[in-house]
């Protein structure tokens, strides 16, 4: 491992174009505010304003990007101070923006994919009466997400972190009338809270030990801390990342989040928000790169590897179009977490995979949305089939995304995923073999479930012909309008080309933030790994074709299935596990506390009150209204006082 890479010292002041960086936050926030405040009056033009603010932010981001590339590599980390946010005693939280290659990469991804999905939503949500509000929430999300990646301290990051959580909650529960959507929104919100507690504790620890929460100070001083503190912060940050990114053991909310409209699934729950965990760990790379943080990184890697397997296995068994994609997202983020857990050898690859994944997974989701839009919102892949002819553009763009995801040679996924697998092998020793092997196995499973999806949705017999949708309408699949196909085409182009272009330049571009990419050579050469990966993916795809492509599939899901399939259909018992380990003991604890509160605390309080009331009721009886008895008691009192005085005097 390399030693500490000190990046914090060379922060420049933002100037020129970068001075306007606050526009990135304000534009979408302005859009959200206008759309929410104007109400129904904005119904006619709301979607246009909503899209325009994000496209404007994207245009500015491109400008800022070229402004940054014109600087020398060492000057590319800049900060723009906006105002002092919280200033109490020794706590001074500055509200500022950090403009460096990492945050700019994310800004381009968020605003770029965000713009495309805003455009797509114009078409997708055209039948929704509340389209304006939808765009307001989307704008709110973009603004919060930009704050998350642009903030120059952990508290600003946390602000954005909660902001995207709120937007995610609002959008998952978009179809409020449906029970499952409301439940899914709550579930997402609650499970995110679990992770947020970790992040919050990490921030508290930073403030306690380093006296600040700004990146520049924290990363400067982190090397001086004890190993215990470093590992604790590392693992708590990971817990935060697990919550937001749907990683083991907090993965169960992400598939349920598919209850939201498809553009939301594409933007928030595939391309951007769920990758915030990867961003958090990559951003904290000065911490994870420390030799003392070895254990924390190992935990990160284990979480990534476990999650990528879980996602793949469950993805093979589901029959819901979007949920399969959701588990695929879980598993691909597992790859990213695994990559950033590898340390300097993997940060850049994690971000690379994040970007290419942003393209192809958003494209896949938009394709799924297009299919569902044309099929009366039917999401059960067993009721689809043979749609390639009816929806040629969707089919072609989706297939390109599919090929990119399974790592077809020279498409995006090939460059990013292979790099992660190779980096995992290069970890060396038994760890290298285990993590590399898991990543390789994951590639095969990915190819399997994605091919299954492709065959069941687009190829084979059109099983929907003799069926009716839930509301009794017949299916009339049709290609979607241009606002929907255009973003799909753009994303498909990105899925094809992004990997080839980015894999060359990205590590160097990110070096000022993430440190130089350390190339380590494992027991297998990169060529061997590339060939192995493609071969295993091909085998996975081949098995899927043999199982699903050659015979007709039943319209209802088979009930008599083997144990692995049943386990996978039940989310590998992830929900049961959470239920048994946390939910039920939590309920017991609550009941116990309620009992203690009612009997113990309330009993004490009420007992004191009742005792005082009763005794004063008795004391009251002394007040008889009989004047001479008062005189007697006065006399008695006087005698007592005098007796006391005399006793003191003569004692």
């Amino acid at each position: 491992m390399t030693g500490t890479i000190n990046l914090a010292a060379e922060v420049q002041q933002a100037s020129g174009v970068a001075n306007l960086a606050w526009l990135l936050l304000v534009l979408p926030a302005f859009g959200a505010a206008v759309l929410l405040i104007a109400g129904r009056r904005a119904d006619k033009w709301g979607h246009l304003l909503g899209s325009a603010t994000v496209i404007g932010a994207f245009a500015y981001a491109v400008l800022l990007f070229f402004d940054t590339t014109s600087l020398a590599a060492d000057d590319r980390t800049r900060e723009a101070h906006l105002f002092d946010w919280i200033s109490i005693h020794s706590l001074n939280v500055e509200f500022g923006l950090r403009l460096d290659p990492l945050s700019l990469t994310f800004v381009l991804l968020i605003t770029g994919v965000g713009s495309l999905i805003h455009i797509y939503s114009i078409g997708y949500m055209s039948d929704d009466r509340d389209r304006r509000r939808f765009f307001a929430y989307l704008n709110l999300f973009v603004s919060a997400m930009l704050l998350l990646v642009l903030g120059n301290g952990f508290v600003t990051l946390y602000f954005g972190w909660e902001g995207v959580g709120l937007a995610s909650y609002l959008l998952i529960g978009w179809y409020q009338g449906k029970d499952f959507a409301a439940t899914a929104a709550k579930k997402a919100f609650l499970m995110n809270r679990v992770g947020d507690v970790g992040l919050a504790l990490a921030i508290f620890l930073m403030f306690k030990n380093m006296g600040s929460t700004q990146y520049s100070v924290v990363f400067d001083k982190i090397g001086e801390q004890s190993t215990g503190v470093i590992v604790a912060i590392g693992i708590l940050l990971l817990l935060g990342a697990c919550g937001k990114s749907g990683q083991f053991p907090l993965q169960a909310w992400l598939p349920d989040a598919m209850a939201g409209p498809t553009p939301v699934s594409a933007l928030i729950h595939a391309a951007t928000m769920v990758t915030a965990g990867v961003y958090l760990i990559a951003r904290s790379n000065p911490l994870y790169s420390l030799p003392q943080a070895e254990d924390a990184r190992l935990v990160v890697m284990i979480v990534g590897a476990v999650t990528l397997l879980i996602g793949c296995v469950i993805g093979c068994a589901y029959d819901d179009f979007k949920k399969v994609l959701a588990y695929s997202t879980v598993s691909q983020i597992g790859y990213m977490i695994l990559a950033v857990g590898l340390g300097p050898a993997g940060y850049a690859f994690g971000i690379l995979h994040l970007l290419t994944h942003g393209f192809f997974k958003a494209g896949l989701f938009l394709g799924a949305g297009s299919v569902m839009h044309g099929m009366n919102d039917e999401g059960d892949i067993r009721r689809l089939g043979g749609l390639a002819k009816k929806m040629p553009i969707t089919f072609i763009t989706w297939t390109l995304g599919y090929l990119a995801l399974i790592g077809f040679p020279f498409l995006s996924g090939y460059f990013s995923k292979d790099a992660i697998i190779a980096a995992a092998f290069s970890e060396g020793g038994s760890r290298g073999w285990i993590f590399g092997g898991i990543a390789l196995l994951g590639a095969g499973l990915t190819a399997f479930y994605m091919t299954r999806l492709l065959i069941l949705v687009f190829l084979g017999k059109p099983r929907w012909e003799n069926l009716k949708s839930e509301d009794g309408r017949a299916y009339h699949p049709h290609e979607s309008g241009w606002t929907m196909t255009l973003p799909m085409i753009v994303l498909a182009v990105g899925s094809v080309g992004a990997g080839a272009i980015l894999s060359g330049v990205l590590p160097e571009w990110l070096a000022p933030t993430l440190g130089e990419l350390v190339e380590e050579h494992g027991p297998l050469s990169h060529t061997v790994i590339a060939i192995l990966t493609v071969a295993i993916s091909a085998i996975g795809a081949g098995i899927a074709f043999a199982l699903f492509g050659r015979r007709e599939q039943p319209v209802t899901r088979p009930q008599r299935v083997s144990f692995p399939v049943r386990a996978a259909r039940a989310d590998l018992y992830g929900n049961h596990l959470n239920e048994a380990l946390f939910a039920r003991p939590g309920v017991w604890l609550t009941r116990f506390l309620v009992f203690v509160d009612n009997r113990g605390v309330d009993g004490l309080v009420n007992g004191i009150a009742a005792g005082l009331g009763g005794s004063s009721g008795r004391l009251r009886r002394l007040q008889t209204g009989f004047v001479r008895s008062y005189a007697l008691s006065m006399l008695g009192g006087s005698i007592l006082v005098i007796a006391a005085l005399l006793m003191v005097r003569f004692a």
């Binding site: 008889t624 004047v627 001479r628 006399l635």
Partner: protein, 99 residues
């Protein structure tokens, strides 16, 4: 002439006054007994003053007389108004202010 007799007389007068306050019901009599107690105190004040050879006690006795005079004015007025409303001067009958 020993001061002891004066003090004994004072104690006797005070005791008669105190017992009178406790056992009599007529407000006027109770009132007169209070005066008796005050004057018993005056007597002992003057006696002690005489024993110590100073004038402090005698001056204090004058203060007590002034206060007693003022008290008589207020007290008799109260007793009068109670008698007018209730047609009785018994202290035991004025027992409305209780629990």
């Amino acid at each position: 002439m020993t001061p002891t007799y004066y003090l004994l007389l004072s104690a006797l007068l005070f005791t008669i006054g105190a017992v009178g306050v406790l056992v009599r019901r007529n407000a006027i009599v109770v009132f007169m007994c209070v005066e008796l107690m005050l004057n018993a105190v005056n007597l002992s004040l003057v006696t002690f003053s005489r024993i110590n050879g100073g004038l402090d006690g005698q001056i204090m006795a004058f203060f007590v007389m002034v206060v007693a005079a003022a008290e008589v004015v207020v007290g008799l007025a109260i007793i009068m108004s109670i008698f007018r409303t209730r047609r009785t001067a018994s202290v035991d009958d004025s027992n409305l202010l209780k629990y």
